[in-house]
């Protein structure tokens, strides 16, 4: 998938003008948030459930190296083959090579964020292997060549009329209709056929269980189940943080994941695979490859705060509640992961240089942190990344701040520790700012002020500050 994180501002401006996006955002995220809340309240103590889940995630992330080894051992004992991929290129290379080996002309895919991260589909295509996304929303997004708009509903913002035209174009709809049920049926009939005689299916993994070597997928459409059951060769791909100690942890995690994601107590399908088809079994894939992808994670693992981002299990709750996401939607974030989830993950995986807008375009309101069932403290991580810019951190590739800003903060520091220079600064700045508020030409020279005044007013700075008024106030008592 192309990385367009640097175009955040530009795409956000476009999306702000997109009526369809605005309408959609005003309806769906609040509705899903409400469902989430209702579902959470079915816990006798929702807060306790969340903090337990957060501690399970935290402990798993802290023990990643051991858990991964344990998982590999047990998955291998089940008959799966575990492949380690250092980066996207290695993971994609493995899939392509396997597909070639098996003489595969097409694969089906279950919706998976990690393969978006790896940019697997374009690589498959370049190698002459067709990839069929089999999740309805993902299929539509793929056909439209658009990134996912929302982690749970990748094409949820696309109107049925556009889908009708798309389906007519690719020839899977006989009679033009914008009826969502008919559209869903057309895709279903078309995609169902791909599962017959399927040679290779590719899925992501929601959870990998260390002590049993099993993998779990959580979904609502059943297409992942098909993609895992129908092919001769199954390839399931996970990033390193998906591993957790036991099935007990997994079952608890599912309760939080589904509630936070779609407001369900449990999704329609939760499938657990223990390796490929055994000798005495009649169906199932003959081979199961589990690809474990690092892609930049372990390099940042030593950083205890950045590491927190690895707790995320991609429920999407933080997107639905974020004032910025619910204003601009998923496209501006420019990569597989959008909203607060992407704002903490993308800088870690892509480096800060091209993701600066992501962790700066936040009001730090903390709504994300409040709903996050895995205990990610987004605002704290944003502030941390921001400080790396200022400190010129090289590991994360902190991007230097504008010179003007550093100068302003130099003066600010002068004033903040010395009330005389603070007062003097205020006295000097006041006429300048007040003139600029009134005078358009001068205002253009002070960009922050100009930006503010674009759609908002600002009162004039009063002649007497509170400090100046205090003497009178005190004597009046």
């Amino acid at each position: 998938m192309d990385i367009k994180t640097e175009q955040f501002v530009q795409v956000a401006e476009e999306e702000l003008k997109n009526e369809r996006t605005r309408l959609f955002l005003s309806l769906l995220p609040p509705a899903v948030s409400q469902r989430r809340q209702a579902a959470m309240s079915t816990f006798s103590d929702p807060k306790a459930a969340m903090s337990y889940c957060a501690s399970v995630r935290g402990a798993a992330v802290d023990n990643l190296p051991d858990l991964l080894e344990e998982f590999e051992k047990n998955a291998t004992a089940n008959g799966a083959k575990v492949i380690w991929a250092r980066d996207a290129a290695e993971a994609n290379e493995f899939v392509v090579q396997k597909a070639r080996e098996k003489g595969v002309s097409y694969v089906t895919k279950g919706k998976s964020m990690v393969t978006e991260e790896l940019g697997l589909n374009p690589v498959l295509e370049q190698n002459g292997i067709e990839a069929f996304e089999t999740d309805l929303g993902e299929y539509i997004a793929q056909q439209l060549k658009r990134p996912p708009f929302h982690i749970v509903g990748p094409a949820i913002n696309v109107p049925p009329e556009e889908i009708r035209d798309l389906f007519m174009d690719i020839g899977i709809l006989e009679k033009a209709t914008a009826d969502p049920v008919e559209l869903g049926l057309a895709a279903r009939i078309y995609l169902r056929d791909k599962f017959h005689h399927l040679k290779m299916g590719i899925t992501g993994i929601n959870m990998a269980i260390a002590d049993t070597g099993s993998i779990i997928n959580v979904e609502n459409e059943g297409n992942i189940r098909f993609t895992k059951a129908a092919p001769q060769t199954q390839i399931s791909i996970m990033s390193i943080e998906k591993v957790i100690p036991s099935i007990k942890d997994a079952m608890f995690q599912v309760r939080l994941l589904c509630r936070s994601c779609t407001g369900q107590k449990i999704s329609s399908y939760v499938t657990i695979d223990n390796g490929p088809k055994k000798n005495d079994e009649i169906d199932g894939p003959e081979e199961l490859y589990i690809v474990i992808v690092d892609n930049g994670r372990s390099a940042k693992y030593h950083d205890l705060l950045a590491r927190e981002a690895l707790r995320c299990f991609r429920c999407g709750a933080c997107l639905n509640i974020c004032p910025v996401y619910t204003t601009v939607g998923g496209y501006p974030y420019g990569w597989a992961y959008s909203g607060p989830m992407g704002q903490v993950l993308n800088p870690m995986l892509l480096g800060q240089e091209r993701t600066q807008d992501l962790y700066r375009a936040s009001t730090l309101c903390g709504a994300c942190k409040e709903v996050c069932p895995t205990g990610v403290n987004h605002p704290k991580i944003f502030r941390y990344y921001r400080s790396k810019d200022v400190d010129g951190d090289t590991e994360f590739g902190g991007k230097p701040r504008p010179l003007m800003e550093s100068i302003i903060y130099k003066f600010w520091l002068q004033g903040v520790t010395n009330s005389w220079s603070w007062k003097l600064g205020a006295r000097l700045a006041r006429p300048l700012l007040n003139n600029a508020i009134k005078n358009g030409w001068l205002r253009k020279k002070i960009k922050p002020l100009d930006n503010w005044l674009q759609a908002r007013d600002l009162p004039l700075f009063p002649k007497k500050t509170f400090r100046d008024r205090w003497k009178d106030l005190r004597d009046r008592s």
């Binding site: 400080s387 903040v416 503010w452 759609a455 007013d457 009063p462 205090w470």
Partner: protein, 240 residues
């Protein structure tokens, strides 16, 4: 009369001194004796949020030195209280002595409504306002300090007030300090949402405990809905 130390945030000092005056008036009405250390400047929140941690450390130490001998410190801004209480210890981590001092000051800093309800044990301030009032729950006050019930109780107790529920009362107003100027278009769209909800609620005024939200919301109202206004809780309670 008990001394109460005034923590007047920079934005109140420079731009909204009437909020500071109202804070003084409310405290006096309640029989407190507000005192003011003129050496105070800014708590450092803008620097922390922009990533200038080392600058912010200087601001934090300056603040602690000025306020650490006061018994009760009261501030008409939830976000600044949150900075002192929750960010100072984080900022100074690694220097045990300073962390202790920060935590000690932090335990004595209160947002105005929090002070009135939690420390003074009051449910009401003697005040009158004839009209419908909606309340905006400022983010740092709500999620950082966990304070929301206190101001709402005080507002409901004002004579003549009809409290009106606000849709999305706990959704951010889009200010976010520098966010509002670095990402102005997004910020505008968020504050528009907030003011639309306020206008649709048919409340006469929108009350908030945070001068940042106040400046943002009023900036948008003044441009787009002249005549409609957000009001700081101190001004509502002081009647000025």
């Amino acid at each position: 009369m008990k001394d109460v130390s005034l923590f007047i945030p920079c934005i109140v000092d420079l731009l909204l001194p009437e909020v500071g005056e109202a804070t003084v008036a409310v405290l006096r009405k309640l029989g407190q004796n507000p005192i003011y250390h003129p050496d105070q400047t800014c708590c450092g929140e803008p620097a922390i949020n922009s990533g200038y941690q080392h600058h912010a450390i200087q601001a934090a130490k300056h603040f602690i030195e000025i306020f650490e001998n006061d018994e009760a410190i009261v501030c008409p801004a939830g976000s600044c209280v949150n900075t002192v209480k929750n960010h100072y210890p984080e900022l100074l981590a690694g220097d045990d002595d300073w962390v202790k001092r920060a935590e000690s000051v932090g335990s004595r800093v209160y947002e105005l409504s929090q002070f009135i309800v939690d420390v003074m044990g009051l449910d009401a301030v003697d005040a009158t306002y004839q009209g419908k009032v909606a309340f905006h729950r400022s983010c740092q006050q709500l999620r950082g300090l966990g304070v929301s019930e206190q101001p709402e109780r005080l507002i409901r107790a004002v004579k003549g007030v009809e409290a009106i529920p606000l849709i999305g009362a706990d959704v951010c107003c889009g200010f976010g300090g520098l966010f509002s100027v670095d990402y102005a278009s997004i910020s505008e769209a968020i504050v528009k949402n907030k003011t639309d909800n306020f206008i649709n609620s048919e409340a006469d005024i929108l009350v908030t405990c945070d001068p940042g939200c106040l400046t943002n919301i009023n900036g948008y109202l003044s441009r787009n809905h002249p005549g409609k206004k957000a009001v700081h809780i101190a001004n509502l309670l002081a009647g000025i």
